[in-house]
């Protein structure tokens, strides 16, 4: 079978590729130049065929063909066919065009399979990467990953003839497909469609035809044409009438190496675009030195000292590794390993990026950003923006104007969302200058915003720049937010703020990956204050927010649940204080609020909540303020009674801890504690038992504790106390006409005075 498949002298030549492989790109060019075919058929969206000439304009790569469709659940989804200079598909296109051959894309339009195939990078390596064959080959060859295996077999072996190369490719792809678990419905449909397109072309032209597709599909298409594979019923492409239903479209859009490199999982393609870019342009042995030089340069600009001797050592190690691995020249992994071996002089900690490795990755990622040719239509994003801005009266003019929006009004709300999307993308000329603060949530009686709009020369440039994030304002803003979420590490609070941004911009259909990312940011955040402050934001969005219409959203519910559980987890691990008592208490408050408001909606586990608090309350390792807070929470939710709280109070009846404990207690059980006569009396008794200097020592933290009450509440407490003691206050508490500090100094002085008097026996007996 492989013999027939790999015959490059037949009428139809099947050229299998790995998308974004420079070796395949070079070979496919070679093939087309030598075969001079009448037609070149390429795996790519056939609904772009009418506009295929746009691809021959002077674009700066990387660019992508973007297909979008509104799918059944109402969501809008898009998919990319990205091209960079070393893409086999790109080189095939250009070579065919230069040779005067007919060029066509033969893949199914994406919207036909959007329902059953969620992969957005249409040139991903998902087929080749997986599977038992690759795993076994890696072991046999002695490499650690598919990418290394690929380099060894295809990129590095420059000695192969074109014929041998094609044969080896087919051999590799056929075997990986044979050991693959199953071929998906979407793949079978696409292959049936592609085979039909090849058939149609063959009857159209008598000349030779080159078919350039992912190597995984070559054999299947060939099999269908030769009759070795028969079509199944479910592979039929929907008929014309059905296909046109629903909104969909296709356009060229700029792309970037950052995006290409950030694809993971099913979406993953060839890594390190910057490296392969370099290899495509400069393949001679020794070209790795330029990359090494660039890494060194980058490190030096970041203040690391890299000496010439270091570079020689890295170079030597890379050469040695290439030799050990049998590579004819220093390759990607050899260079990385050479640098790691020779330059890193400290411990590499799991999960923490080493600055040196980051520099290497940056150079290997490359910084190319695409731009559409000036005679091509503007990127779809710019068009979409113009339409939206015009429709909502938000166009920027040279004369600045200010805009006040009341978010409770429907129309103004959607204008605000558009402005927020522009902000997320950093479009010049639009800035928010005032309005309600939804982060601090201080005064939300009226939710409003104030914006300033003024045309700036950067407006056009920033919008074209932003086009690489997506073809519509909503998609681009969502993609940008996702990118930002990827640069956040272990910080739940920042993740929650991103979510707030998303809500303000009405990006409700954020990708699952974004939510997963937020979940993992919450889970990996080791800081109690940050997690609980995130909980505060999330709780606001879930419970209170009717302006942004996020209240009750199921995905938010999951996040609140996550943050609540994580918060409890971290609460128990808090140790003795480090001076962030206020923030920590707000954290406990957020936990209590989440529990009180959501324990039904999210089925938060009460037993778990109580168990954690009881352990915190009893733990000697916890700070007094947190133990007080735990008592407060338990009292508030009715899990313990006032007697138990008073018993706890006695544990802290020393000047160092009393104030802290009370601060925690008052903060979390404010209502209960000010009205409880016995508690007030107990506090009084504890205080009365303090000696003067003890009282003075306890005073600052006591003052802090009582600030949780309003003056009126304090007055009420004082009255309670006086009544209980049978005193009749003549007037409300005396106002002292000096500062508290002066009063404290006076008291201290008085204390010393009495002390001295006592020492000299001037006043017999006790005071």
């Amino acid at each position: 079978m492989i013999d027939a498949l790999a015959d490059i002298d037949g009428r139809v030549v099947y050229f299998p590729v790995r998308h974004h492989s420079p070796a395949c790109a070079r070979r496919v060019r070679e093939l087309i130049e030598s075969v001079k075919p009448a037609a070149v058929l390429i795996e790519g969206p056939s609904d772009f065929n009418a506009r295929i000439d746009e691809l021959f304009l002077a674009h700066r790569l990387p660019i992508a063909i973007y297909s979008y469709a509104r799918i059944a659940d109402g969501g809008r989804r898009g998919a990319y066919h990205p091209f960079c200079v070393y893409s086999p598909e790109w080189q095939a296109l250009q070579a065919a065009h230069a040779a005067g051959a007919m060029v066509r894309f033969i893949d199914l339009p994406w919207f036909d399979i959007a329902q059953i195939d969620a992969v957005a990078n249409r040139y991903s390596d998902q087929h080749l990467r997986r599977g038992e064959y690759v795993r076994r080959l890696c072991k046999q060859v002695g490499v650690e990953s598919f990418d290394d295996l690929w380099d060894t077999f295809f990129e590095l072996d420059g000695e192969l003839t074109l014929k041998e190369f094609v044969r080896r490719m087919h051999h590799f792809c056929v075997h990986s497909r044979l050991l693959d678990e199953h071929v998906s419905l979407s793949d079978r449909r696409r292959e049936a469609f592609m085979a039909a397109q090849v058939q149609a072309t063959l009857s159209e032209t008598p000349g030779r035809v080159v078919v350039v597709t992912g190597g995984y599909h070559s054999a299947a298409i060939h099999g269908r044409l030769t009759g070795a594979v028969s079509a199944e019923a479910d592979e039929v492409t929907p008929n014309q009438a059905e296909r046109q239903a629903g909104e969909h479209g296709i356009a060229l859009t700029p792309y970037s190496y950052e995006r290409l490199d950030s694809l993971r999982g099913y979406e993953a393609g060839m890594p390190n675009p910057g490296y392969y870019h370099e290899v495509w342009h400069q393949r001679a042995a020794g070209s790795h030195r330029r990359l090494l030089g660039r890494v060194a340069e980058l490190l030096r600009t970041r203040g690391q000292s890299i000496s010439a001797a270091d570079l020689i050592a890295a170079e030597g190690a890379a050469q040695g590794l290439a030799q050990l691995r049998g590579h004819p020249q220093v390759w990607r992994r050899d260079l990385v390993d050479g640098i790691i071996g020779a330059l890193i002089k400290d411990e590499q900690v799991l999960g923490i990026a080493h600055p040196l490795l980051e520099a290497v990755h940056e150079v290997f990622r490359g910084g190319e950003r695409g731009q559409l040719a000036s005679d091509a239509s503007l990127p779809p994003l710019v068009h979409d923006m113009r339409v939206l801005l015009h429709a909502h009266g938000l166009e920027a003019e040279s004369k600045p104007r200010e805009l006040e929006l009341d978010l409770e009004a429907e129309t103004e709300r959607s204008r605000s969302a558009i402005l927020h999307r522009l902000m997320i993308l950093g479009i010049a000329g639009y800035s928010q200058i005032g309005g309600s603060d939804l982060v601090a949530r201080t005064d939300l009686a009226k939710v409003w915003e104030q914006w300033r709009i003024q045309w700036s020369p950067d407006l056009e440039a920033t919008s074209v720049e932003a086009a690489r994030y997506g073809p519509t304002l909503a998609d681009a803003a969502a993609a940008r937010l996702e990118e930002r979420s990827n640069s956040v590490e272990r910080n739940a609070n920042q993740a929650a703020l991103l979510l707030l941004d998303a809500a303000l911009a009405e990006l409700t259909h954020l990708a699952d990956t974004f939510l997963e990312r937020v979940v993992s940011l919450i889970g990996s955040d080791p800081d109690f204050v940050s997690v609980t402050s995130a909980l505060g934001h999330l709780l606001y969005l879930l419970v209170h927010d009717h302006v942004l219409r996020t209240a009750g959203r199921a995905d938010l519910g999951r996040l609140v649940h996550e943050a609540f559980t994580r918060g409890l987890w971290l609460l128990e691990g808090l140790g003795q204080g480090e001076g962030r008592d206020r923030e920590r208490l707000s954290g406990v408050q957020a936990l209590l609020e989440a529990f009180e408001r959501c324990h039904d909606m999210l089925s938060l586990n009460r037993d778990e909540f109580v168990a954690v608090l009881q352990r915190v309350q009893a733990s000697k390792h916890q700070a007094a303020v947190i133990r007080g807070a735990a008592s407060g929470v338990l009292w508030t939710i009715g899990q313990c009674n006032a007697d138990e709280v008073q018993a706890q109070l006695l544990l802290f009846a020393d000047p160092d801890h009393l104030g802290d404990f009370l601060a925690g207690l008052f903060c979390l059980a404010r209502e209960a504690s000010q009205r409880h006569r016995d508690l007030v009396l107990s506090i009084d008794r504890v205080l009365a038992a303090f000696a003067d200097d003890e009282f003075l020592a306890a005073l600052p933290s006591l003052r802090l504790a009582f600030t949780y009450f309003t003056p009126r509440e304090k007055h009420h407490m004082a009255l309670t106390l006086c009544e209980a003691l049978g005193l009749k206050p003549q007037q409300s508490l005396t106002r002292i006409e000096v500062t508290p500090e002066a009063a404290a100094r006076a008291l201290a002085f008085e204390g010393r005075l009495f002390e001295a008097a006592k020492r000299f026996g001037l006043r017999g007996g006790d005071l």
């Binding site: 050592a313 030597g316 050990l324 071996g341 002089k345 411990e347 889970g523 994580r566």
Partner: protein, 376 residues
Amino acid sequence: MAKKASTPPPSPGNGDLAHLQRPAAEVLYAADLEKLIAADKGKPRPQGWAITPQSVLRFVLGDDTLGVAPKFVGSRRLLERSVVALATNRGLMLIGEPGTAKSYLSELLAAAISGDSTLTIQGSAGTTEDNIKYSWNYALLLAEGPSERSLVAAPLFRGMQQGKIVRFEEITRCPIEIQDILLSILSDRVMSIPELADDSRSLYAKTGFNVIATANTRDRGVNEMSAALKRRFNFETVPPIADLNEEMALVQREAEKMLRRADIPITLQADLVEVLVTTFHELRNGQTSGGKALEGLTTAMSTAEAVSTAYAAGIHAYYYGGGQVEPGHLVQHLVGSALKDAPDDVKKLEHYFHHVVKSRKGGAWPAYYEARKFLS
């Protein structure tokens, strides 16, 4: 003895191999080495090496076609970098947490490259220059004056003279000035012996000589090491085993091997090994398998500690239990043999039980959670 350069010795009094507590790697795996030497006949290799660099990898990671057993669980790339470093003019510094098999790896590399892993300097606060370079047989010194006969060669001397790999264990435990003895040796590859006559005053290293040092990142890190010395080494971090399944297999295999050697006919159930190794794995990485961040312990929680915990639990079950290892045994020895004397760690372990173990169902997890009472 320094004069007789040849294959290492089970030296005087060693007698029967079977009675050695722990034979050297080149003795234990002599058969594997022979196969590789035979397979390498005539192939180019760095000067002074017993086998080719490719075969060093085969020796350590195993090779099915030659029937060489794998001896070390770890990344191939790490090993490739290490072997290449040894073939260049830099030394190799293996660093990492305690219990990540750094010393074992250095022993395997020395055995494979030089056929001798016994040229070992044990670094400690008391290590002196004499322990590293050479000292004197004082009787001969007094009788004949300084001569090659009265010189007593230490491992570094012998390694240079015989063209072999020298192992320097726990190098960071030595004072800095002792560490720096290596400076001139690694850059100029010559040791001067000022006491001797002119013609033998300098010892030039024979090809094949190099140094593998190991350093523990827990107690006294590599930060204090002089920059000059750092420059003469390629550093490799030996990470703990990344793959949970591989670690479980290793712990089960090693613990049972130890139990057999102690004549204890006990096997460890797979679900118990799972809870034990998962605990070690997660606490060490500071992360649960679900991606939740955990507070790290001050104890290293190495694979080696997991093996000794399993071993201790096995002994406990055999002598004091019903001959069946229970989760309770594991928890008790987790505290005793792994956590040692660190009350904070016990608390963190309790936290781990409350928030991670508790929510796990199936296998030995519920019983393991019940056994938390042994923590305090």
